[in-house]
């Protein structure tokens, strides 16, 4: 299973193409400083997108991640100011994320409310509640050991990137090796069939929402420690970035299939566009338009070229018996 590409190939080819193009047109893009900034900026998007992939695979959606992200950021800042030890912060960030995720998950899986509406409601509710509580004020005057976890810029940056990659890698490996994550794919593919096979599909859906909550929580903390203050409105449009990365990575929005590797490629591809434009000397306002075009292109390819993707899959050559 592991490195076999089938649905990911269009975005992978696009990414490689882009990298080669930049290598000739703007080689300064590959300076270590830029690559480091790129990795830092996309680390949290990668984590949220990883969770989003599983949510979409199980044929649900979570658009409340941006608001959760903001709430966890502020909460971490406040907790740090209250003197909570820095080592405890990641645990608390994950726990807070889990609670928010569990609320979404319970409403979707046990109450059977549609996830788009549930998470729309929580998205608005958390964002507005946060605005009301903070009055829009940033959390300032954080203890000095908050930024970069007190490790200094270099080590802190390395920690953020490595931690993100580690969590992603763990889930990527798990998506192919854990029994639990196979149940996620089965549920997304055919809920009724999965139920008949003895899988508790409601529990699967619930835990997937908890997982995206946890990932959003840790992503939020890893993002917040990059700065000396915590803004009250972080994570705006994060849900859109994550969903875009998942879709560009080849996961159909209808669920059942899709790989985390594809999402990784999707995050890189979409994340590279903005910085690349700057290095190419093009007005960076084009970033969103180009990202939009990439998303459109992916969906169109997906819709038109279902046969194309299939014919590349090694198993499709099988004769029907």
């Amino acid at each position: 299973m592991s490195l076999r590409l089938n649905r990911e190939w269009p975005s992978l080819i696009a990414l490689i193409g882009l990298c080669i193009f930049i290598a000739f047109a703007a080689p300064r893009f590959y300076e270590p400083g830029n690559l480091r900034d790129l990795a830092l900026a996309n680390a949290s998007v990668l984590l949220v997108s990883t969770g989003m992939t599983l949510v979409i695979v199980v044929a649900q959606i979570d658009i409340s991640v941006g608001s959760m992200f903001a709430v966890v950021s502020v909460a971490c800042g406040v907790l740090a100011k209250l003197g909570v030890p820095i080592l405890l912060l990641p645990v608390l960030a994950i726990l807070i994320g889990c609670v928010f995720g569990a609320l979404n998950g319970a409403l979707v899986s046990f109450v059977k409310a549609p996830s788009i509406v549930v998470t729309l409601a929580t998205m608005v509710a958390w964002r507005e509640a946060l605005r009301w509580i903070t009055g829009g004020a940033w959390v300032e005057g954080l203890p000095t050991h908050f930024q970069w976890f007190g490790l200094g810029q270099g080590n802190g940056q390395a920690l953020i990137v490595l931690a993100s990659l580690f969590i992603f890698g763990l889930l990527w490996w798990g998506s192919e090796n854990w029994v639990a994550l196979r149940a996620v794919y089965a549920t997304g593919s055919d809920t009724e069939a999965a139920k008949l096979a003895g899988i508790s599909t409601t529990r699967v859906v619930f835990w997937v929402f908890v997982l995206i909550g946890a990932l959003t929580g840790i992503a939020s903390l890893l993002n917040a420690v990059r700065f000396s203050d915590v803004p009250a409105n972080s994570g705006i449009n994060l849900e859109l970035e994550a969903i875009a990365a998942v879709v560009v990575g080849g996961t159909p929005i209808t669920g059942g299939r899709g790989s985390l590797l594809g999402t990784f490629i999707g995050v890189l591809l979409l994340g590279c566009i903005g910085p690349a434009l700057i290095f190419l000397g093009i007005n960076p306002y084009w970033e969103k338009a180009i990202q939009g075009a990439i998303i459109l292109l992916t969906v169109v390819l997906e819709a038109v070229g279902k046969g194309v993707g299939k014919s590349l899959a090694p198993t499709a050559a099988l004769n029907k018996t």
Partner: protein, 546 residues
């Protein structure tokens, strides 16, 4: 394909004859009709000539001919899968036949479609109401028959009045403003009837219209049928309830295995004749049924009820090594019983005993733990997960047992999947191929492999050979036979009478959510099986006690 043998022995025939006279005594009204209809044979209003239709190699219609006279009620009877529904779909243009000809009032219809057939005066009342649930009754009626003027103002008042008038003709007490989703099943059926009346059809097709109606509504329906006939229009009337046919129909056509067997005046037949025409056929497959020593009772079900699914008071038991066939018409509650037993729907009453001890099955996971396995009907939807590989499909129900640590071990998975694929003879290049690449028969083997891997003690098979070709069928029969030999207790739900009679040790017949009889294989014929499933059980039981 479905049934074997006829009521052939001399003894049986005599009995049938005797019953004939009994039946005719009970139905004196028929005699009147003999005088009334000496078959003047006007030109048929609708003719179907040698209609053929197959779906992916499975023949639904092999040559059906039917002629409908003006002002007649023409009954259409046949077993499950005899081709009644397909024939209706061909007549209405919902399905294009592979060969054959349809003539309406002598004119051949080249390319039929639902719109064309409607414009030619054909209206259909389907078994399942096909209404828009979120629209009102009046809107539903108007949508079906209003001419479409995109920019015209809707005449709401007129629609309501019109709908009210039609509903009154059906005798229904339904407000035209009611939304269809708020109506009960019989009420929806009445709206369908009103819709058909509005079409002012000269050919009215009714597919089991009384299946969900109560007595009063049924009487109203009969009145409508009679009015339609009196107006010189024609009705094709499909029903399993023979007493209705004897009351209403002028002629009857029997379908069997996609062939039209015979058309007769209703006055000249008895229900025994009809059943015999419906089942009469030769055995076409050899069943590998071996003698198996039966073990202890593996599963027992007492007073099992699930009102949500319409399953009532089911009692049955299966022993190790035994195959219990569950026969019945489509919609008699067999699948619903299996699903409730497997923990998909909570019970309202009764108890389930596995190996003699009482158990609670609240979810499929509970059922699997207790050694139950359920290979569902409609395997393309529920039996296998099409996107997943054969290997992943095979292990899906055993993941927790095979990989208790929570980590997959692909070597073990491949080994298990390969072993079962070989044992069941799944024809594939690789077990890593997705299940969607397999043929129906092989998908069924994968579905079976998944459940055999759970090491079950009780296996429930729901229509195990539906829609698969003959070769694969006999392989599946061979497998089922072997599994019973290995001591599995097997419940086999099937609409194929031949399969039921060929494979089962005992046969439970379900009708309307209940088990109406449990028979030994030796004492069962296709004839009495069908009779019981149709709800004509008294005669058979009476005979057994003679």
């Amino acid at each position: 394909m479905r049934l074997a043998g006829v009521c052939t022995s001399g003894k049986n025939t005599r009995r049938c004859e005797r019953r004939d006279t009994e039946k005719s005594d009970r139905l004196p009204s028929k005699l009147k009709r003999v005088a009334q209809y000496p078959a003047p044979q006007p030109n048929p209003v609708l003719e179907a000539l040698d209609i053929r239709k197959s779906y992916g190699g499975v023949h639904a219609l092999r040559g059906v001919s039917l002629s409908l006279l003006p002002g007649e009620v023409h009954a259409l009877v046949g077993e499950n899968g005899a081709g009644k529904s397909t024939l209706i779909k061909v007549l209405t243009g919902a399905v294009q036949p592979d060969a054959g000809e349809i003539r309406i009032r002598g004119q051949q219809i080249q390319r039929n479609s639902p719109a064309i057939s409607r414009s030619l005066g054909i209206a259909v009342i389907y078994q399942q109401p096909a209404l828009f649930p979120d629209l009102t009754v009046a809107e539903n009626i108007a949508l079906a028959n209003d001419s479409v003027h995109l920019w015209h103002k809707v005449d709401w008042k007129g629609r309501r009045a019109h709908a009210a008038q039609l509903l009154e003709r059906t005798g229904a007490r339904i407000r035209p403003d009611a939304s269809v989703s708020s109506l009960s099943m019989p009420e929806q059926q009445l709206v369908e009837i009103a819709k058909a009346l509005d079409a002012n059809a000269s050919i009215l097709i009714m597919d089991e219209p009384t299946a969900s109606l109560g007595d009063r509504d049924t009487e109203n329906l009969f009145r409508i049928v009679n009015e339609t006939r009196a107006a010189g229009h024609s009705v094709i009337y499909i029903s399993h309830r023979f007493e209705e046919l004897f009351r209403l129909a002028d002629r009857v056509t029997v379908l069997r295995d996609g062939n039209s067997i015979e058309t007769r005046p209703m006055s000249g037949v008895t229900s025994d004749d009809l059943i015999r025409l419906m089942v009469g056929r030769e055995l076409t497959a050899v069943f590998p049924k071996h003698h198996v020593e039966l073990g202890d009772t593996a599963l027992e079900v007492r007073n099992f009820s699930c009102s949500r699914l319409g399953v009532r008071n089911v009692n049955l038991s299966v022993r190790r090594g035994e195959i219990l066939g569950i026969a019945g018409l489509v919609g008699s509650g067999r699948t619903q019983f299996a699903e409730a037993l497997f923990g998909l729907t909570p019970l309202d009453g009764g108890e389930v005993l596995v190996n003699g001890s009482r158990v609670q099955i609240k979810s499929p996971a509970d059922a699997v733990r207790l050694g139950l396995a359920y290979v569902p009907e409609d395997r393309r939807r529920h039996g296998v997960i099409l996107e997943m590989s054969i290997a992943a499909n095979t292990t899906l129900a055993s993941l927790n047992r095979l990989f208790a640590s929570g980590f997959l071990r692909f070597k073990d998975e491949a080994k298990a999947a390969q072993e079962f694929s070989n044992r069941l003879g799944v024809k594939t290049v690789s077990i890593d191929a997705p299940a969607k690449n397999l043929s129906g028969g092989n998908q069924q083997k994968v579905a079976l492999a998944r459940w055999l891997l759970t090491n079950p003690k009780i296996l429930i098979l729901d229509e195990p050979t539906q829609g698969i070709d003959v070769g694969a069928k006999s392989e599946i029969y061979e497998l089922i036979g072997k599994l019973a030999e290995n001591g599995l207790a097997i419940l086999m739900i099937s609409s194929e009478t031949e399969e039921i009679l060929g494979m089962s040790d005992r046969i439970a017949v379900m009708a309307q959510g209940e088990i109406v009889a449990t028979l030994n294989r030796a004492e069962t014929t296709p004839y009495n099986l069908l009779e019981l499933a149709l709800g004509h059980g008294a005669g058979v039981l009476g005979r057994q006690t003679e």
